[in-house]
């Protein structure tokens, strides 16, 4: 099914999304990848606040290429989510409700998704030029020294994603490929 949703995301809305749904996101999402996750995790260990309000938020696992003059952002496709798995359950328990990335997640992340009614979306890997067109504003809000890995507040309009793991824990990577696998 095709669905249009806004971010930040409510729990009620997240619960209506099913694995395989084509979803268009509008609103605010935050970009963060390896180094930013490490810093956020350190901040929490030290009892410090996160650089943005995590409750109801969507994180886009993204390190964009630099914006050319006059542009909002450079190429902006997803990076492999599994590298963030170590940090993710804690963030979900704090209210993180959506993640955009590519690739499989661990059982711990899936359990957290189910427990809290969160959702994991896929953006098409290697389609960064196209995806960048859906980003209408970008502002670095933390860890500027990390360059591409800094946390950015992104305003998006109809960012196309597919629900990979829904709040029931159904995982598209488990249900779809077997339909096309040929037995030897």
């Amino acid at each position: 099914m095709e669905k249009y949703i806004s971010a930040p995301l409510t729990e009620e809305c997240a619960k209506t999304l099913r694995a395989g749904d084509m979803v268009y996101i509008s609103g605010v999402v935050y970009s963060a990848r390896d180094a930013a996750h490490e810093r956020m995790s350190k901040a929490l260990d030290e009892g410090k606040p996160l650089p943005f309000d995590i409750s109801g938020s969507i994180i886009y696992y993204l390190g964009p290429s630099p914006a050319r003059p006059g542009r909002v952002i450079g190429s902006a496709g997803p990076t492999t989510a599994s590298r963030m798995d170590k940090y993710t359950p804690r963030l979900i328990d704090m209210g993180l409700i959506g993640m955009i990335g590519k690739g499989k997640r661990t059982k711990e992340v899936k359990d957290a998704i189910k427990r809290r009614g969160a959702v994991y979306f896929a953006a098409i890997g290697g389609a960064g030029a196209l995806l960048s067109k859906c980003i209408t504003a970008a502002e670095t809000i933390a860890y500027e020294d990390l360059g591409t890995e800094a946390i950015r507040k992104l305003t998006v309009k109809d960012l196309p994603v597919i629900v990979l793991i829904d709040s029931d824990g159904t995982d598209l990577y488990e249900t779809e490929p077997p339909k096309y696998a040929k037995k030897p």
Binding site: G20, G63, P64, S75, T79, K102, G125, A127, Y180
Partner: protein, 280 residues
């Protein structure tokens, strides 16, 4: 002896970095476009359609095809009658990469010390492989490599008794494990033989061989085809969401090896398999 100023290498590489991150080689474009026609799964066709659209947007609007504009892998095939002038060739390669990534608004994805992990800020150093060849020319091949797929690559030190079946299992298992992480449809480079590092280097170099060129011999060509068929029976599909097109092409290189060994390297690349060559 032919003199070549090292600045010519910098200039060429600068232009190559920018060019290949915005437009794939014709063989790669052709493969992706024909994959869209071949795919049976609706979601797979949708993904491949978007990838074609992405290539057009990248080219027409000068936005990198993928935000991971890669670590610059540079093969330098240097004619033995060449004399480089005007400075260090290694510095010249890095200068070309530095300028290309800066002026081309490409992503700086390299950290200096692998454990301290501080970004070098200019995407250098490059990974450089030198080879001395006949003649008085320099052949530069640039292959910016993304790490979503690089991370899924593997080296297997097989036993001779595992033979061809062992090789096939190794390649297919690497592709299966790579799954959606490597941004399928993938492009796969395989090195068979040599030793530990030689097979890995062959696998990387195999990625730069044009998909419409033929490998060294008939037998290797057959193995490439057979493995491609097996890989595309896995069902992983475009973006890992199910389908027939999991791998676009498998390129194999071979080399003599030791009586006790059968090394196999599988270098996984995504559909953004960037390779570009220049001769000076």
């Amino acid at each position: 002896m032919r003199e070549i100023p090292v600045s010519a290498i910098s200039d060429a590489l600068c232009e190559m970095c920018v060019s290949i991150n915005h437009r794939l080689s014709p063989d790669m474009e052709k493969l992706i476009y024909s994959a869209r026609e071949a795919e049976e799964s609706p979601i797979g066709r949708m993904v491949l359609g978007k990838l074609c659209e992405n290539l057009e947007t990248a080219r027409e609007e000068t936005i990198p095809i993928c935000q991971d504009t890669g670590m610059a892998v540079v093969f330098l095939d240097v004619g033995q009658d060449v004399h480089f002038t005007g400075g260090s060739i290694e510095d010249a390669v890095n200068e070309g990469v530095r300028r290309g990534y800066r002026d081309g608004y490409l992503r700086k994805s390299v950290v200096g010390d692998p454990l301290e992990r501080k970004n070098t800020g200019d995407n250098t150093p490059a990974v450089i492989h030198y080879q001395i060849v006949k003649g008085d020319k320099v052949r530069i091949t640039l292959a910016p490599k993304g790490f979503g797929s690089e991370n899924m690559s593997k080296v297997f030190m097989l036993k001779p008794a595992q033979g061809i079946d062992g090789v096939k299992d190794a390649v297919i298992s690497a592709i299966r494990d790579a799954g959606p992480n490597a941004c399928p449809p993938m492009y796969v480079g395989v090195g068979i033989g040599g030793d530990f590092e030689k097979c890995a280097l062959m696998a990387k170099r195999a990625l730069t061989r044009s998909s419409d060129s033929l490998p060294a011999n008939e037998k290797t060509a057959e193995l490439e085809k057979e493995l491609l068929g097996e890989a595309n029976a896995l069902g992983i599909g475009p973006a890992g969401l199910g389908g027939r097109v999991t791998v676009l092409k498998i390129n194999i290189e071979t080399y003599p090896t030791h009586i006790a060994g059968l090394p196999v390297a599988v270098n996984i690349c995504c559909h953004v398999n960037r390779h570009i060559g220049r001769e000076i």
